[in-house]
């Protein structure tokens, strides 16, 4: 059956190693495959590798590759292709190099066996390369695409040759891309799509109109406020789920004064955990949920949502909404009349991000925390955060490895450029015990012990109010009633699970 779908952005390239962005990786997962892949529940399952075991005597993993797999151009798949793809993906021109930061060596053992050696024990390594897609060495080299394109185009920018279930039959960047099933796919096709057409539609209202007028079968995402409208119509359905992304506020822990305050200019009140707790207590998550998110969000207590490995059940409570207590805490901390500060937010990155910040600013103001809100597009946002240009900021984090370790490494560990730790810990929250625990977590094989370490980290950071976790970002997809599809928590849309009835 023909199938048409739309999303807000077009994958900017067809090269799986050139840009590490969700639209690109999501789209290319229908065409290219990695050694492992994620199932409907995000679990890791065999793909081009049939099995993997830890190396003996050294750190790393051995992958046994699937035999009889062919690329879409007919050439056979073997370990050389994996080796080539590794080299390509870890080259300087690649945008996905960081996945291979722990890798010290890759060895081709035979045509269908390959070993990845890592610098330290790395139980999560197979998880971390689920989006590492394999190219055909011969094809890439013959077409001068041995390296990803960085500042000029190459053959792989517009053309594909994967082992996956779909191939590109035509592509007009920014306009439309047509996929057709690959007859020689090694796996059994469960979908019934004969031709899939993808169109980017940037304007949410237009996208919704396209769905309702029947021109497309599926769109992701749709605005929360339109859910009721779609659900109320015959022949349409809404798929609601939760992304793994937790939205939070961060603080400038290490700043010695506020940058945007009109009253407190000589010190940083947010250095005081009481003030941070007061901020957390000022937020009325119930109203945010009801009004802004139409009851579609789950409040968050920690940096990963429940269900992610390493989630700390023991610390599942978040500070309650209590403006009086917040005021008291502020008074206790020496700010009975509150103070003003700058709050930085994006306006095009997360669902309702700007509205959220405005609502939060208004709630903060109710307890005396007068936020000077400044919102902007994400294109200017990261550089500002990198330059420490904030008092408080909004951040969303999705654990790439679907494990609690990921945010601990990026958001909680003290900044350490050399070891590439705490690289997104903009406010440089720093707790020696957390820093100590991270390596333990990373190397611990025993799940119970590992969880204990993580519980301790969560406990510490909750006590410190290192961040104010707010909620898990909802995932809202809409489709025609006759479409069966699977919504995966990473917001990736897999054509191979689509059935058109």
């Amino acid at each position: 059956e023909p199938f048409k779908w739309a999303s807000a952005t077009d994958p900017q390239t067809m090269d799986p190693h050139a840009v590490s962005s969700a639209p690109v990786l999501s789209f290319l997962n229908n065409i290219y495959e990695g050694l492992v892949r994620r199932g409907k529940d995000m679990s890791i399952e065999p793909s081009l590798a049939t099995s993997w075991v830890p190396l003996e005597g050294e750190n790393g993993w051995r992958f046994t590759l699937r035999e009889g797999v062919t690329f879409q151009d007919g050439s056979a798949f073997n370990a050389e292709d994996v080796m080539f793809s590794y080299e390509r993906a870890s080259s300087e021109a690649s945008d996905v190099r960081s996945w291979f930061a722990p890798v010290t060596e890759v060895r081709v053992v035979d045509d269908y066996t390959i070993e990845f050696v890592t610098s330290a024990p790395n139980p999560l390594f197979p998880d971390s390369i689920a989006n590492f897609m394999i190219l055909d060495k011969g094809w890439a080299e013959a077409n001068d695409a041995a390296l990803p394109a960085r500042d000029a185009e190459n053959f792989a920018t517009m053309n594909v040759n994967g082992t996956g279930p779909f191939m590109v039959s035509s592509r007009d960047p920014g306009v439309k891309t047509v996929l057709t099933p690959f007859g020689g796919w090694w796996d059994e096709a469960t979908h019934n799509v004969t031709e899939a057409t993808f169109t980017p539609i940037g304007n949410a209202a237009t996208g919704l109109a396209a769905l309702l007028s029947g021109e497309i079968d599926f769109i992701s995402p749709i605005p929360l406020q339109d859910v009721a409208q779609v659900e109320g119509r015959d022949g349409f359905k809404v798929l609601e789920g939760e992304e793994t992304r937790v939205i939070m506020f961060g603080f400038g822990h290490e700043h010695d004064k506020l940058l945007y305050s009109s009253d407190v200019t000589d010190k940083n009140p947010f250095a005081d955990p009481k003030v941070r707790l007061a901020a957390a207590q000022a937020l009325d998550m119930a109203s945010i949920d009801r009004v802004l998110f139409r009851g579609k969000i789950e409040a968050a207590s920690q940096l990963v949502p429940a269900g992610i490995s390493g989630y700390s059940e023991a610390n599942a409570d978040r500070p309650a909404y209590d403006p009086e207590a917040a005021k008291a805490l502020l008074a206790e901390a020496g700010y009975p009349d509150g103070f003003s500060f700058g709050l930085k937010c994006t306006n095009d990155r997360y669902i309702n991000d700007e509205a959220l910040c405005r609502a939060a600013a208004s709630m903060f103001a109710a307890v005396g925390l007068n936020a000077e809100l400044s919102t902007g597009p994400v294109r200017d946002y990261w550089p500002q955060l990198r330059e420490d240009d904030f008092d408080m900021y909004l951040l969303g984090w999705s654990p790439g490895t679907f494990d609690m370790e990921h945010p601990v490494r990026f958001l909680l560990h003290t900044q350490d450029d050399e070891k590439k730790l705490g690289s997104w810990n903009f406010g440089n929250y720093s707790n020696p015990r957390v820093d100590e625990l991270l390596p333990l977590v990373q190397q611990e094989i025993d799940p119970a012990q590992r969880q204990a370490y993580l519980d301790e980290i969560v406990q510490i950071t909750q006590d410190d109010v290192a961040y104010i976790p707010l909620y898990t970002q909802p995932l809202i997809w809409a489709a025609k009633e006759n479409i069966d599809l699977t919504q995966r928590a990473d917001d990736f849309f897999m054509l191979r699970w689509v059935t058109v009835n």
Partner: protein
């Protein structure tokens, strides 16, 4: 004396034109409401502590679920719509008026001088005008926005947003004034009163501003009204493209842009009330502009 006569002439036409009367009443009401927004509106929508998300999405009074506290309902932040609109109209008018004034001063100044001196200077000004025309309003605004973003420190951007928008809009409007002023000046230059002034040895500035300017005000006034209307609309469009004012200090355009999200979700008032308000304002300004055109061009009556 003549002013009085002219006025009474205008007044006479005015009384005969119901459209102009209605437009004037609407425009005056809106401008009055905007000017006295702080006194008239129930709450200050820029004061974050004056509203609460808890009151979000309340429909207008006459609809089910309405609340007497919020006559026209609230938006998704719990802001009272009336207050938002009055304050929004205020910002829109301030930006529109300021842009128009800047464009007028710049355009009329350059146009007058180009018409007066002619020759190279005229050619130069007209080429600059060409460049400006080759960069349509939206592009100009995007460009200025771009520079401001790059040049100004991040914390000033919020405050300077209005200035940036105003300048961007003004820059895209001045050519109109310059061309009209220049063309009218050319006509006036051949009039004998100008020749008389030049012959007497009066300073160019005096000839331009004391003698010529009052004589070309008519068409300029018409452009001013039309451009005021387009400035207000342009601001709305820029907000739609994401380079307008931030939502926490919304203009009418920003309010409409915010309202667009609720086009189909049932909360119609968040979009349509500000839109109606904007349309009423722009239409009435345009009608007044048409009316002025008639007054200044008796031949078209």
């Amino acid at each position: 004396m003549i002013a009085f006569l002219k006025r009474s002439e205008g007044l006479w036409l005015f009384v005969r034109s119901p459209a102009a009367i209605v437009a004037a009443v609407v425009a005056v009401l809106i401008i009055f409401g905007a000017a006295f927004a702080p006194l008239l509106s129930p709450v200050n929508p820029y004061d974050l502590s004056s509203f609460s998300l808890f009151d979000g999405l309340i429909p207008p009074l006459w609809q089910e679920g309405g609340n007497a506290k919020f006559l026209l309902g609230t938006d998704d932040q719990g802001r009272d719509m009336i207050s938002s609109i009055l304050y929004g109209a205020r910002l829109s008018l301030i930006i529109g008026l300021a842009a128009m004034v800047i464009a007028t001063v710049l355009g009329v100044g350059l146009g007058l001088a180009a018409g007066y001196y002619g020759g190279r200077f005229d050619a130069f000004v007209m080429r600059i005008a060409d460049v400006q025309l080759a960069l349509p309003a939206i592009l100009t605004a995007l460009l200025i926005d771009g520079i401001a973003r790059g040049v100004l420190p991040a914390d000033m951007q919020g405050d300077l947003r209005i200035a940036v928008l105003t300048i961007a809009i003004a820059l895209s409007l001045w050519v109109n004034f310059a061309r009209t002023a220049r063309a009218s000046t050319f006509v006036q230059m051949n009039k004998e009163y100008v020749q008389a002034a030049i012959m007497m040895g009066q300073r160019p500035a005096r000839v331009m501003f004391v003698h010529i300017l009052p004589n070309i005000l008519g068409p300029l006034l018409v452009i001013m009204t039309v451009d005021l209307a387009s400035a207000i609309l342009l601001e709305a469009t820029l907000s739609f493209l994401g380079i307008g004012l931030p939502p926490d200090s919304p203009s009418l355009g920003t309010l409409i842009q915010i309202g667009m999200q609720f086009l189909f979700s049932g909360e119609w008032w968040i979009l349509w009330i500000p839109t109606l308000f904007l349309v009423a304002l722009v239409v009435s300004i345009n009608i007044l502009g048409d009316f002025l055109r008639d007054v200044f061009n008796p031949r078209l009556r």
